[in-house]
Symmetry: C2
Subunit: 442 residues, 2 copies
């Protein structure tokens, strides 16, 4: 048998159901991987081996008839998401020794109800709201950033330490680390999953996301969280033959580095070779303002979100939070409201554009993960899709000049999350097979 830590959730689930693997064995296998790799990758903010094994044994004792769809599946939780039995520290000096908060965030309640094994808390940037990285490193080169702010969640899945983890995205905090770590990352449609119990930065953009190493695992999660499109998704695989696929450089294309430029070109060749109808999509003029509007909305909402902790202990916070609370940029309410209303207009324009294509493909990151851990890297390519509030999927498969993974982003209209996964599965299969990146372990 393959070592269990190498399995995706879907693969492990099959063995668990058949009785060929116990939750305890699975957990022990992942813990053995973590024991070797954590000193190098540092993906975990909190991990209690004994507690994990206790929980695993409890799950093993659940009668088969009572087992949920995620029975025994270990899941890492970004350390800005409340867990009733583990501390939540937000990578904040204010909360560094705060007691356990004794409440589960809504998505954690859902995961537990589905039988998941909540494994530990993963490293993040301060309140998931700075670009300051460390100590967590990239799964494929610990000297490079894993991206942020869902740093540990992406690194842990990329490094086979857990099959699934939760992240959040306000700017590019799911898609960028997924791209940098060569894994799938899904930011769901805004509102499709409850945000109760997640740290708040921006009410307009903060959204839950998942990291996995397969689209099948994302489909499993989409069932657990009851994601639902209007149109039923066909049970047969999506066919790339004749598929209408648009490529979109976005207004920030000038930032793209060689790895991203190559992936963008290579992916078009691959899709054309499968019979897809590939075209280039230019966004309407008004969309050029989206990055600026995204920034203004974050500034205006951060001003509110960080007030409490600012009053409590501003000396223990990143200065960028104090700057937001103090409105150092002198953002006016008028500008903030113009940003809200401008983005709202773009949302329905975007949905109409997106409906014309099976999927739209666009860069995930400016390039492969850069060297160094001090910054979590550039999220420029993510802002407009986050503020448009539709589902966003990172698909891995390509590599940069230094052999690090490079992914591409698939987007579509709001509340077409299942459709995006359906297409993403077919696209992911060919990108992974022909994109040029191979994980050392596979």
């Amino acid at each position: 048998m393959t070592e269990p830590w190498k399995l995706t959730a879907t693969e492990a689930s099959k063995l668990l159901r058949k009785g060929d693997l116990t939750v305890e064995e699975y957990a022990k296998s992942l813990l053995s991987r973590i024991e070797v790799r954590d000193p190098i990758i540092k993906a975990w903010a909190y991990l209690d081996r004994d507690f994990i094994l206790d929980q695993a044994r409890t799950l093993d004792s659940v009668p088969e008839s009572d087992r949920g769809p995620l029975h025994g599946i270990p899941i890492g939780i970004k350390d800005v998401i409340l867990t009733k039995d583990m501390p939540t520290h937000y990578n904040s000096r204010i909360y560094a020794s705060h007691p356990i908060m004794s409440v589960d965030a809504a998505p954690v309640i859902t995961l537990r109800a589905a039988g998941a094994l909540i494994f530990g808390k993963t490293a993040t940037t301060e309140f998931a709201a700075t670009m300051e990285g460390g100590p967590c490193g990239n799964a494929h080169d610990p000297a490079r950033t894993p991206g942020g702010s869902s740093s540990g969640s992406a690194a842990a899945v990329g490094d086979f330490q857990v099959p699934i983890s939760l992240g959040t995205q306000t700017f590019g905090s799911v898609i960028r680390p997924a791209g940098f770590n060569g894994i799938y990352g899904l930011k769901v449609t805004w509102g499709a999953i409850s945000r109760e119990g997640l740290a708040q930065y921006s009410m307009t953009t903060d959204t839950l996301g998942f990291f996995t190493r397969s689209v099948a695992d994302l489909e499993l999660l989409s069932q657990v969280f009851q994601l639902a499109d209007d149109a039923p998704v066909p049970s047969s695989p999506f066919s790339l033959e004749g598929a209408k696929i648009a490529f979109c450089k976005t207004p920030v294309w000038a930032k793209a580095g060689p790895g991203t430029i190559a992936a963008y070109a290579r992916s078009q060749d691959i899709l054309k070779s499968k019979g897809a109808l590939v075209s280039e999509l230019e966004l309407p003029k008004e969309f050029e303002r989206l990055p600026e509007w995204h920034g203004k909305i974050l500034a205006g909402e951060g001003r509110t979100s960080f007030l409490g902790n600012y009053l409590l202990a501003k000396d223990k916070m990143a200065t960028s939070f104090a700057a937001m609370v103090e409105n150092k940029t002198q953002l006016s309410r008028k500008a903030q409201l113009e940003a809200y209303d401008g983005c709202a207009r773009c949302r329905w324009i975007w949905d109409e554009i997106a409906e014309e294509y099976d999927v739209i493909i666009t860069p995930s990151t400016v390039d492969e993960a850069p060297l160094g851990l001090s910054s979590t890297g550039d999220a420029s390519f993510n802002a407009i899709w986050t503020i448009l509030q539709g589902p966003v999927l990172n698909v891995p498969g390509f590599k940069g000049e230094n052999g690090m993974p490079v992914g591409l982003t698939l987007v579509t209209a709001r509340y077409r999350d299942l459709h995006l996964l359906h297409v993403g599965k077919a696209v992911g299969a060919v990108f992974t097979a022909e994109g040029g990146y191979k994980h050392k372990l596979l």
Copy 2:
């Protein structure tokens, strides 16, 4: 000296600052009022006399130079808002014996940092998301509903048990109980105050609100929460002479009962007698869909928000939550998105309309509080202002056919919260003086 429990926060604050009142004395006075009245009104979900007095003595020991703007002011917290030292039960059977969650909601952090005395948790409807009332009664007649879902918060302030309390509004949960209990209620602009640590029902509408017995207390809170309009608010009182005031019947005017109809007419006479330029405002045709869109947004977002607890223990939840999660109304994503986009369009149209007037006045409730505690009453007049996301203020002063209080709603454009309070202070003064309602205690 007046008994301290009769004071507004601003009045008590003056005495506390001068050393004419200690926090402990103030708390004891309120507790004595509560001791007499709580068996009748039942406003509190949690109240620990000894803990309150401990906290009060701790506040008394704070050196004068370290005292905050809310030093020693007792504040009731709706029991869907997390408090690190008191349980949060959401009036839910699922959380009836849940341990203390050891974390403060962001607004509670802000209040504590300002020196407030967090007094206890106030009665609410289940997850602040049903119309099912009880056991809390109205401050002016315990056989009548206090409104909901911020039932206890409004009743406690209306009954002089605390000077200030926190509520939340998704439909009409601040304005309706404020109206029914004859007090001020302010729902701030969506996004103006952090929602972290509040129960989540609808991400588009859930908003924090305050209950007080004076506009000066709301102004004090607006400073603590750093509410900020673009235009500075004049330091001189707002003059009703020549003020442009529009009255708006809204598309649900047909629901107005005699108390509300009389208040609507009487208030126009009062304002005209002060020299205000009063006109009738008809909303654009498209606004007729706002109540329907509000309902669809709540249904679509409730489907997400209640999933976790539904999976955890659906047998311990109101059936209305299960109906949302199961999407019993077969709401489509298309309809939900149309509601989002339609409301977004109305928001900027509304802001333009509102800028033409100093303030717009509209009903708060269909009538005075009805008899019985089983239902928290009709919130029809509140939905459109909640979904438009601007600030909303209930101003008391009128009475219904049975002598119960009736209030009116003042609204304006988004992020003009301070302006609304400035106008509301002048309007409140004349409504209270000439509207015909007198509190038994005053």
